[in-house]
Symmetry: C2
Amino acid sequence: MPVNPFEQHLPKTPANYQPMTPLSFLARAAAVYPDHLAVIHGSLRRTYSELYARSRKLASALAQRYIGVGDTVSVMLPNTPEMIEAHYGVPMTGAVLHAMNTRLDAAIIAFQLDHANTKILIVDREYADVMREALAIAKVAPLVIDVDDKEFPQDAERTSYDDYEAFVASGDPEFGWRMPNDEWDAITLNYTSGTTGNPKGVVYHHRGATLMCYSNVLAANMTKHPVYLWTLPMFHCNGWCFPWTLSSVIGTHVCLRWVRADAIYEAIAEHDVTHLCGAPIVMSTLLNAPKEQQRALPHVVEFVTAAAPPPEAVLAQMANAGFNVTHVYGLTETYGPAVVNEWHSAWDSLDAAQQAARKARQGVKCAALEDLTVMDPDTMQRVPADGETLGEVMFRGNIVMKGYLKNPKATDESFAGGWFHSGDLGVMYPDGYIQLKDRSKDIIISGGENISSIEVEEVLFKHPAIELCGVVAKPDEKWGETPCAFIELRSGHTASEDDIIAWCREHLARFKCPSRVIFREIPKTSTGKIQKFRLRDMAKEID
Amino acid sequence: MPVNPFEQHLPKTPANYQPMTPLSFLARAAAVYPDHLAVIHGSLRRTYSELYARSRKLASALAQRYIGVGDTVSVMLPNTPEMIEAHYGVPMTGAVLHAMNTRLDAAIIAFQLDHANTKILIVDREYADVMREALAIAKVAPLVIDVDDKEFPQDAERTSYDDYEAFVASGDPEFGWRMPNDEWDAITLNYTSGTTGNPKGVVYHHRGATLMCYSNVLAANMTKHPVYLWTLPMFHCNGWCFPWTLSSVIGTHVCLRWVRADAIYEAIAEHDVTHLCGAPIVMSTLLNAPKEQQRALPHVVEFVTAAAPPPEAVLAQMANAGFNVTHVYGLTETYGPAVVNEWHSAWDSLDAAQQAARKARQGVKCAALEDLTVMDPDTMQRVPADGETLGEVMFRGNIVMKGYLKNPKATDESFAGGWFHSGDLGVMYPDGYIQLKDRSKDIIISGGENISSIEVEEVLFKHPAIELCGVVAKPDEKWGETPCAFIELRSGHTASEDDIIAWCREHLARFKCPSRVIFREIPKTSTGKIQKFRLRDMAKEID
């Protein structure tokens, strides 16, 4: 081998190599725009200088309690200023932030605290009751710190005697926070919702979080000083990394304790919001709000949505209301959305149905993802890009998780063959856009034929009386499984089971039509995803 | 040491770790927006699909000539489509791109070709004469490929029988280009202008180039689909990495063979240009163009400038003409501008002189730079942020070069103490913005007192008759050195040496005033920088 001159004495030194971390974005924002408004919450206002100082005080106070590399700090917080501070203050000590879904039950909370080996737990008083219950079950006994939201006072009995404001006040605003030793070091821990078995702890690192920030700016088409409304829970994939992204563009966080239509419209109008993210449920909330709560938007507002493709009617209504909707897709394992439905201006001239069909596709890899494909998981060969051949959606790149905490088997399985296996089934179109067709377990196999529950749902969604629907497999002696539809009707509309089945027969092959239609409220996760595993349980009980 | 659970079995795999490279941005752009206009040059139009295919063909043709890791491909090209292709095609083989300044003389070209050990040389016919001369001197004998620009035919005799179009045509558009083995691998080589001794070969890597792309998008406030006019030479720090940046935002390159006012105004108007970059000379070219060449701008155009702070009058004229000027600063060693004069909207209400004073400061670190400071190079202590204490500007971070090729001594010296030593002298203001005061060698030491040549120039620039000026040290028996001013007058204006000296005495301490004033054309580099070393040579000869 000849010597490569470009490898001779060109070493990594502190001058030309530093670990990437999103924490640096906050330090820069505070240095360059100290007086720019960083956080709005009720009547509270904090500048970047204040946000940075408070984050360092939190880090300092944690470090005084011996929190550092290898430790976990867990939080259960709504989208309040404390949650933003935790995204900086905890990793500033070298520790890992574990943000919990605020709708978890005590058993799951206890499992997560034990699995994460939580040393310190910060909890908003709204969740004090369930947290006390969880702590009674958990094996770990973390130091518990209560957050009292003075803007929206809560009256549940406190969990502990330690108060967040006093805790932060004990810290040093000049605390010399630590850069990660390596950009591969863990920054956060997010548990999957785990519809089967115990949830898995997804570990994020500083490198991925930093690249996700840059990628978010491109995907959301952000310029300097955006105003971002927190309709997406920050506990969900760390709010798709937007708590850090905002610092890179010196934006303003508009906190939102509860996702309610009046508060959203008010915030957009009063704070000149430019961007918000959320599940389809947020769009429904906005569109179905009483007229007196709705306010005119100051300009086109960017709405980034995930979890389910936005239906045609919703897209039209959102456009009418002044929102530009971008559809994205990802998993907890990919730091949130790593796939974006990149819109082509040429598609603007398509009719509404065609536009909705384009928008319903999940899209293409975002800038920081190296590769995205659909493969046969047995052969690890890419399926033909024909829009029809079903395969498993696979990811590869720097915004794929570090792995599952204390779960070598699941980590290895998920990365088998050098690709992250999403468990989602989809197709690839000739133009390289992917579309989800179902999660493996959501496929209904009837008489040996695969039925995509999404395909049946798409037909149902076009029925004028249907507000929301979920289709799952119902065990069947003859066919193995048949589709069973759960439906929420629009207010003021009626429809019978026979009406719905007749509608489906008009639009679907007979074997794909639901054998049963159940009218009831559909169980959803806190992020608005339909809980299909609950529907499956219900379907089993139906005669 | 307790075991850190966040380090147990969470390995780097191809699924979650990939080397960063800006080449991936082009692959993505071609996949997602194959029909988007990537390149405009005269009447030529190429889409992203075509740019990607041509880059892969170039890579394939190079690989067929055994070009790969460790090899250098040198180019001397104007801002034409071939130059963009070279930025992708060459690194796609694993080789390093060496882009030469098109105004170099034969001796320097020969030095660079030998030092870089050039295997293949691609040269535009405009430079055939000097290149033949250089090749006659050089020890290396690269395969030479001529570029014939059909849009702007050149009539110099060709350098070789190998034609670029035929060479590219021999390549495979489906060539499986190689990802770098490591993101620390070299991507390009840029020689410093080297005012003393031989030029140094600055090596860039894939990691830095990728991060510079993201950082450029933030600094230039780019959204999707910008239209970028090539007034900045691509041979200069690889055009500040914009040849790659444009692919990350799926922008359009508007090529420009020669930087002429009519062509610039025409391009802006016809192609709806959103961004351009360049030295102050480009601003002068635009502002001093004959009225009949000037065209109204379609919207505010972003102009990013470096090399010298824009004077107040120029800023006012640029604003009048419809440009928003952003001042940036960097060195070849920092991939181009790593410092940006981040503008505060509050400064919009300052008067013109105050705004110009703010804009004259070089600014703050850009997002991808980890740290920027001003230090006493002996003690490596930061100077007080008082806007007065002079020190050396120091950089640290991932957009600092890999080092100098085959120059361990210079590499080690430049990175001494874990910081890149810029050789530029400056101050830091209380708000963290830095301002250059001089390069070390541009300081004039008169009677033991330091005189900043920039300070004297600032006073001269305010004289109504002065178009351009450069101040350097002139040896002096009594004082050691005294300032000597070189001046270009505005057309239609006159001024005598005594007038100018009197003007300086009004505004400067007497010892800082020029002892001599010379009226003549000032020598400049091809990027518009005043060649102070030439002025110093001239000053020595003056009685």
